[in-house]
């Protein structure tokens, strides 16, 4: 075809209504069937470009210059009706947060069929048949009936897949994927990523894949475009960007994960009295252990934390990590077990704890946006603990606030700003300063970097590490990012379904022999080379039965089933049984190879 460029943006310019430039003279071209990765930190204009390719601007923004050509038609010059017709029909959008993008009051089928019926592409009956086909392609459980469910009745990963089905429902030429896997945890991310890639390849759709994670985009994109502050930094073939980046910024991005030094820390003397000791703690939601309908989220967890030490708690979402933090801080009273701070037992509930305990135990939250009151100045936010715990005068508080701002690396004149005027990383620094204001001994960090861009997260980690060295703080560091763990934690505890299944010095946890679940977590972290996804899928083919909780959700087809030719269910079931047996025997990771061979043989038999 002469014009195989399906989408072309030229000299695109997007501004806010107040005149701030968000996207500055960016050119994007997309060929049929090609996937272009758009990457950059938040505020780089990735999503804005994604939406602009549909000639759409978010509230408060305007497309002020450039041309947007979709399949040979310039969208900006065409009528509003034409644009409306092309959206969803020839260009579709998959948003980051599937949960927020569905109408909670409509069934999934109604929502998936809406676009084709409205656009007159298909009749309702035909659209439903097609939707079921898509559900099947996307390996949703019970594809024939899942459409009758409501969004809250399926999991986040499944919802993201339904959203992909929705986007594909009109067989669009271009699909814009705006961080489709960011809200998912690593193990689910792999499944969704593989399915999206297959889906796009199968339908010959062109894709614009937006993400901040270079390793993710490396698995799926043909070309990568790196953006910063609304400007193009570098654009090239995926392999070239990863292996021979031309600009300084790209090198920093690529090296962020690759060269992250794995901290080899001397584990502090365990003979010393631990500052925080958690013994056999069980807790959950419901009135109490004996109450009807009570569900224990954390079961019999124990760990010690020494002064100046970092203990990382890792696990996928739903494993009880954050609940653990809520139990220790007393937000969620424990049902049984003991928690000791410096040898003294802590009451279960927050209200019963003396002020001194509250001071010594501080917390840094995951989302700095919601952890800071938008109506208070930084001086008020940081100054309040100083005034409350130490009863200082107004002038003394002010001095201390300026000190703390300096300590976390923020300029002193920020004191009178409000959180809305800060970036994500700066907000997280304020949260840290607020925790430090109480002069605590233990800080519980609940995923403090997972809402931040990689380079910013790196800075925050360095800050936390530096503060620990200077002030002798002890951290309980909750995270699902294993890269982070290796950089900051002295010791690591791995959680699975509310139980701590492995615990020890970080170096030992991350060295063979692994606990099988740890191995799965480790292998789920995307790596910076283009073949990682294929490799891990091939490996997973043999170990899919080890998907956490596979036994709990038998309706959820294992990834391996996708590879099987004949009877997917039988293969998955066989794998699951084999894996269960393996776990029961506790043979560990070394036995996984044997299992792989077994499964491969099984599959071979099925194919014949």
């Amino acid at each position: 075809m002469a014009d195989d460029q399906i989408l072309r943006l030229e000299k695109l310019r997007v501004e806010t209504i107040t005149g701030r430039v968000l996207v500055d003279d960016v050119d994007v071209t997309l060929k049929r069937g090609e996937i272009l990765g758009l990457i950059g930190e938040s505020g780089a204009g990735k999503s804005t470009i994604g939406l602009a390719s549909m000639a759409y601007a978010r509230a408060g923004m305007r497309i002020t210059g450039g041309t947007i050509t979709l399949a040979g038609t310039e969208l900006r010059a065409s009528t509003a009706l034409y644009r409306r017709n092309s959206r969803g029909k020839s260009i579709a959008y998959i948003a980051q947060s599937a949960a927020a993008s569905f109408n909670p009051g409509m069934t999934l089928m109604d929502q998936v069929c809406e676009a084709p019926v409205t656009h007159g592409v298909m009749g309702r009956a035909e659209a439903e048949v097609y939707a079921r086909k898509l559900f099947r392609t996307l390996q949703l459980p019970s594809p024939d009936t899942i459409g009758a469910r409501y969004p809250h009745q399926v999991s986040g990963g499944q919802l993201q897949r339904v959203m992909a089905a929705m986007a594909m429902s009109c067989r669009p030429d271009v699909i814009v994927l705006d961080e489709p896997t960011t809200a998912l945890d690593v193990t689910t991310q792999i499944e969704v990523l593989a399915l999206l890639r297959d889906l796009i390849a199968e339908f010959g759709t062109a894709g614009l894949y937006i993400t901040h994670d270079l390793a993710v985009v490396a698995q799926i994109a043909h070309r990568i475009m790196v953006l910063r502050h609304g400007k193009l930094v570098e654009c090239g073939e995926t392999r070239q960007i990863l292996e021979a980046p031309r600009t300084e910024y790209c090198r920093a991005l690529v090296n962020e994960r690759r060269e992250a030094e794995h901290l080899v820390l001397s584990v502090p003397d365990k003979v010393a009295q631990p500052v925080l000791r958690v013994t056999g703690v069980t807790a959950g939601y419901g009135a109490g252990a004996t109450a009807k309908g009570a569900i224990a989220v954390v079961k019999g967890a124990s760990f010690d934390l020494a002064r100046g030490e970092t203990l990382a708690i890792v696990g996928e979402s739903g494993s009880g990590k954050s609940t653990m933090a809520r139990i220790v801080t007393g937000l969620l009273p424990r049902w049984s077990g003991t928690i000791e701070l410096d040898g003294k037992a802590l009451p279960p509930a927050l209200a019963q704890r003396p002020k001194e305990v509250l001071r010594r135990l501080q917390m840094v939250h995951q989302m700095p946006d919601t952890a800071l009151n938008p109506r208070q100045s930084l001086a008020e936010i940081i100054g309040r603990p100083v005034a409350l715990f130490f009863g200082k005068s107004r002038a003394e508080v002010r001095v201390r606030v300026l000190e703390l701002l300096k300590l976390v690396g923020l300029p002193e004149d920020f004191a009178d700003r409000r959180p809305g005027q800060l970036s994500g990383g700066q907000k997280q620094r304020v949260c840290i300063a607020r925790a430090l204001a109480a002069e605590p001994e233990v800080i519980i960090c609940d995923e403090p970097t997972s809402a931040l861009d990689p380079l910013v997260a790196e800075e925050v980690l360095k800050l936390l590490k530096g503060l620990q060295d200077r002030l002798g703080l002890a951290y309980v560091f909750i995270t699902h990012d294993l890269g982070t763990v290796r950089r900051i934690a002295h010791r690591t505890a791995v959680m699975l379904k509310g139980e701590i299944i492995a615990q020890g010095p970080t170096a030992e946890i991350f060295a063979p022999p692994f606990h099988p679940y740890t191995e799965k977590l480790i292998s789920s972290v995307p790596e910076m080379h283009t073949t990682w996804l294929d490799e891990v899928l091939a490996r997973r083919g043999g170990t899919a039965g080890l998907v956490a909780g596979a036994a709990d959700r038998p309706a959820d087809p294992a990834t391996a089933a996708h590879l099987a030719a004949a009877d997917p269910a039988a293969v998955a079931e066989a794998e699951r049984l084999a894996a269960e047996q393996l776990l029961a025997e506790g043979r560990g990771a070394t036995a996984l190879d044997d299992l792989q061979v077994e499964v491969r043989n099984l599959k071979g038999m099925l194919e014949i």
Binding site: I17, Y56, A59, R62, L331, L350, L358, H365, L388
Partner: protein
Amino acid sequence: MTLFGHKLPVTALLGLFIIVLNIAVAVAGPYLAPYGETQVVGGGWDPASAATWFGTDQIGRDMFTRLIYGARMTIGIAFVTTILSFAIGISTGLLAAVTGRWVDTLLSRAVDVVLSIPLLIWALMILNVLGQSLFSLVLTIGCLDSTRVFRLARALGIGLVSLDFVEVARMRGEGLGWVMRREILPNAAAPLMSEFGLRFCFNFLFIAALSFLGLGVPLPYADWGGMVKDNVGGISFGLPAALYPAAAIALLTVGINLVVDWFLSIDARPSGAQAEM
């Protein structure tokens, strides 16, 4: 023209002008009025003349004078009532949101009981028991209206209580008062402000309705609703007397709503088709 750093559209300017005019009339009433509030200056329902601009009412009092005094009474009562209802509604609403559990259940069910019977019926019942006085009128409407404010404050509060900064304040050992006043109230202020404008209108109309039914502002004070009721008989004779206070009510209601609309639109930004090009 700008106000609080926001550009004022023509409609809001008009609304603001109406409100300021009404308040000025209310404040300066006795100086503006040509006659005394209860002074009889002519016969019943005299037509408009140079001496009585809007004619006289059913017993010969000057309509223009009564309108000016009526502004004072009507706006004053509506304002005091709305403040009272917001004070009660916000404090109980936020208390229910922050405390949760049985306090919330107790307060919410009590409010449901009040809401299950139309406000006007409640007001008629209570005022019949308490007797007709300004104090009982303000207290009754304030308390009844606070149930509406309670629903809003509680809903806003529940949305905010689950945010991390409230959790942080609790972990710091802050008291209930601090959490309600310093952490939650400032973040709920914008919607509450616009609700204040709307509720002021409703209270204003409610008093007019009560006066019309004969249970509002006691005689012989002038108030717009009462004036409509007193003069409504004239309409069957083609006399316009009842229309003047009715028009005053309509004008102020429209004025307040114009300003409230502007309040609500400040945070709303252009989106969709408006923002495209």
